[in-house]
């Protein structure tokens, strides 16, 4: 059984093309972010006022580096999906909406790459 109209099925597209996947990934990343952000904040709280060497040693630990990179990926994916919804609700006209959405995604992508590279550099090169 399907709830989609015949014409929608024929075109193979919903109104948003990939709405369910978007919605679903927003939930999946949210579920991942619950333990990851709690762990991250607890770590920061424990390290408040730490020296550089202490921070580097913390990041270089394989478990920390793995969790940090997971946090970075989940955060930027989740935030990109979330910002898209906000733009869809408020930004007009359509062309401008596309422009700010693409700009946001490119910036978040660059942020994610810079963050991951920084974690790896601390882990491998000190």
């Amino acid at each position: 059984m399907t709830l989609r109209t015949p014409v929608a099925r024929a075109r193979g597209l919903g109104s948003a093309k990939e709405g369910v996947h978007h919605w679903w990934m927003q939930r999946v990343t949210a579920v991942a972010l619950v333990p990851l952000t709690l762990w991250f904040v607890a770590s920061l709280v424990g390290m408040a006022g730490a020296e550089y060497a202490e921070m580097r040693d913390w990041v270089s630990h394989p478990v920390t580096a793995t969790l940090l990179i997971s946090l970075i990926v989940a955060t930027f994916y989740h935030a990109a999906l979330g910002m898209q919804v906000v733009y869809e609700d408020y930004v007009q006209p359509h062309g401008l909406k596309i422009v700010v959405d693409i700009a946001t995604k490119l910036i978040f992508f660059a942020f994610a790459v810079a963050s991951i590279f920084s974690v790896l550099k601390l882990a491998f090169a000190g």
Binding site: V34, T37, L44, G46, A79, V86
Partner: protein, 130 residues
């Protein structure tokens, strides 16, 4: 085809703020604020990767009054969005839509986010002193 007059929804200003609507817009506002706040996270990580001097600079800024203000706001926004995000996920599972339950989980979210923020800062400031 003739364009029919569509009913217009009343303007937002005439609605009394309610726990449901206020928390809903707060979820959106904290989500956007956290998105902007990732700049600080990126800066902190990149500074650490650049080296001790850059890291000291970032830490110095975050340790200033302005830095503390940002961190404090960020911590509450994160805890609020986290708690209300769990509330969203529970709704997605199909539970919690009765009006009295909505109000209860709403206030629970507000209380938990404030309590977690205060707790995090007490522990953080104590670990700095020690």
């Amino acid at each position: 085809m003739a364009v029919r007059e569509r009913p217009l929804s009343p303007h937002l200003q005439i609605y009394r703020p309610q726990i449901t609507s206020v928390l809903s817009i707060l979820h959106r506002l904290t989500g956007v604020a956290l998105g902007v706040g990732t700049i600080v996270l990126v800066w902190w990580l990149v500074a650490a990767a650049v080296g001790p001097d850059a890291f000291e600079g970032a830490q110095g800024f975050l340790g200033s009054v302005f830095g503390y203000l940002i961190l404090f706001g960020w911590s509450w926004a994160l805890f609020y969005h986290l708690c209300n995000g769990i509330r969203h996920l529970v709704w997605d599972a199909g539970w919690g839509f009765d009006l009295d339950v909505l109000a209860k989980t709403g206030w629970l979210t507000v209380g938990a986010s404030v309590a977690l923020t205060v707790l995090a800062w007490i522990i953080g400031l104590a670990s700095m002193g020690g």
